[in-house]
Symmetry: C2
Subunit: 372 residues, 2 copies
């Protein structure tokens, strides 16, 4: 299964891993796949340090960085304080009351404001920040792939990346967006079905993947959304994709960013517990259903704010939940494969499992197709 894109990127396995955690990125790359660091919220300095760390771990093997590029995504730029000031008072009181009723101790007003300003600084994307992130990324020679998580990839991104010999990828949730990304000149399209974690559209992988393969008209497509098994890799190849892009599965590994308590919550969940809401970021996304998510969707709750205000507001709630060690009032982006995650594991073990399952599925398929 060394597909053309795997050959282009010089990787053994067409298994791509999205993670906010550099440990996962390095472990996947070292196991023969390609780790992609979700770095949109990092400062250029943080990003540079993370890339440097990964470079040391992977010893020249290629990996990727996932960013958000301005354009369709950001019409206006506000200062952190301006973002903070634009959160309506009744939203603050909704969240405060909710957490009070849950028995979570409050932060001091000073701590609350300081934390929210810090969070606003992190969340607020600006043109300059994106350009700096890209420059930092392209200055590092081990980065083989830059992926845009949102919106049509701007021309300057493609030009700068190609000038450094770096491939450009883009995430899409519809065939129409795939056609636009192809026109924008990307080298790789990630077709992400609604079963994925985080920002999602409504079209499911089974329908979406072959539609995107058609619209991509020759540009390699990776299958994303709903992938946890080796047989999924075989299904993705059957549907014309050149590999898989996996996010949620790594959350169950010891390398991931989650605490043991949060991981246990994921292991206890079924696929139906990964629900779609606007609670986390203001954009439609899939996340673990918790008391906090339900409260935002109950009668009388306000409509979630637009991005990034909803994320900034959540920064406050999550901080209180974190201090109270109460995961009922927190959530995390996770896809429907959460139902397949049943115990703590490691990146290497997961990739080995998938390869064995892939071989088994291929053998079973050969038996069936030979019956013709």
């Amino acid at each position: 299964m060394r597909t053309p894109i795997a050959q282009t990127l010089d990787i053994e396995l067409p298994i791509f891993a999205f993670s906010h955690c550099r440990d996962v990125v390095a472990a996947v790359t070292n196991a023969g796949g390609l780790g992609v660091l979700g770095a949109a919220w990092m400062t250029p300095d943080e990003l540079d340090m993370s890339i440097e760390w990964i470079e040391k771990e992977v010893d020249g093997k290629p990996f990727g960085v996932d960013l958000v590029f301005p354009g369709t995504a950001m019409e206006e730029e506000k200062s952190p304080q301006e973002y903070l000031d634009s959160i309506p008072a009744d939203y603050m009181s909704f969240v405060t009351r909710l957490l009070d009723e849950g028995g979570l101790s409050d932060l001091s007003p000073q701590d609350r404001d300081a934390y929210m300003v810090e969070n606003a600084r992190k969340m607020a994307m600006t043109n300059k920040k994106s350009q700096d992130q890209l420059d930092v990324t392209l200055a590092r020679s081990s980065v083989g792939l830059v992926v845009g998580a949102l919106g049509v990839t701007p021309g300057w991104v493609v030009e700068k990346a190609h000038a450094q010999g770096v491939q450009v990828g883009a995430l899409v949730g519809t065939a129409k967006h795939a056609a636009r990304q192809r026109e924008a000149g990307v080298d790789l399209i990630v077709a992400q079905g609604t079963e994925a974690g985080g920002s999602v559209g409504s079209v499911a992988s089974m329908v979406l993947w072959p539609q995107v393969v058609e619209a991509a008209a020759g540009v390699p497509v990776l299958a994303a959304g709903g992938i946890s098994r080796g047989s999924h890799l075989l299904a993705a190849l059957s549907l014309g994709c050149q590999g898989v892009w996996i996010g949620s599965l790594w959350l169950g590994t010891v390398e991931s960013e989650l605490s043991d308590e949060m991981r246990d919550r994921l292991f206890a969940a079924e696929s139906e517990d990964a629900t779609v809401a606007r609670v986390m970021t203001g954009k439609q996304g899939r996340m673990l259903n918790t008391k906090y998510v339900e409260a935002w969707q109950s009668q009388g709750a306000p409509e979630p704010l637009d991005w990034p205000m909803q994320s900034i507001l959540n920064g406050y709630s999550y901080k209180r939940a974190e201090r109270a060690r109460n995961l009922d009032y927190w959530t995390y982006a996770v896809g429907q494969v959460v139902g397949d995650m049943k115990g703590q594991t490691t990146v290497r073990r997961e990739i080995e499992r998938m390869l064995i399952e892939y071989s088994d599925a291929l053998e079973s398929l050969s038996n069936v197709t030979e019956l013709e």
Copy 2:
């Protein structure tokens, strides 16, 4: 791809077709697959006539009947008039006002009531009706498969069917339900992902199918939800299923029950236009998004009634829409594959297309897997 279940049922192709339309059922069976007649709303007499008609068309080849069996689905039995009386007055006025504002001429009070009573009679499932439907079905020797569309299959259904040498299938949307159906003794489980048309759960096919294959523990599984291409058949086999169960695709064929105008609406739609709502039946289902569906989901609209009251109420709206030839105030159950349906076709042409695509996909897959 003559999988074990295809051998058991003595069919050439493991392509199962759900349709409310006997013409589609016969055409699929004659093309080497197995047509299944959606007959839950038919009187035993209507069902008997339909089966007789299909038997003549298919010349001894096997086909199936899809029914709703009482049990979990129906706690109480009401007379048609009782159902009608239990529709709240403000629901009648919501719908009446909506259609008035749309400029659709009203029915006379007599016509309206007569039509709704007739509709209530059709929709109201009773134990006796189900038993009569099953008896009529099993009395016909060409029926090889009976499928329960809703709830755990009752023991008496399995016993009666097996006594006649007829296989029993059941539709599920979660792995948990698959385990219950296996315990109930069914011979075949249809795993239907959220991308399907009609009643659906929330788990997408990519995640659901292998989960159901595991839970079925040896009972053959058909893949349903999101299937329109030959490569989907290959993906289904890759994921451990023994065949595919297709519904929406046939709506684009000349054999189907839809008018040319409604078919044109489907051909104009994208996958995102197949939306999930409780509008059609009161149960969560996927259907074409229209003005009527949007109106029920707009601010201030009442929550849809429970099943079957919502269906009975819709009978009135649809009759007005039908008389006014205004499809904005109608809808139809369809899955996300609607985005792949782009022009009028025939059952035979669709099956031939899928078989060619299947061969192409298998060849491409062989090329990729040989690269190892």
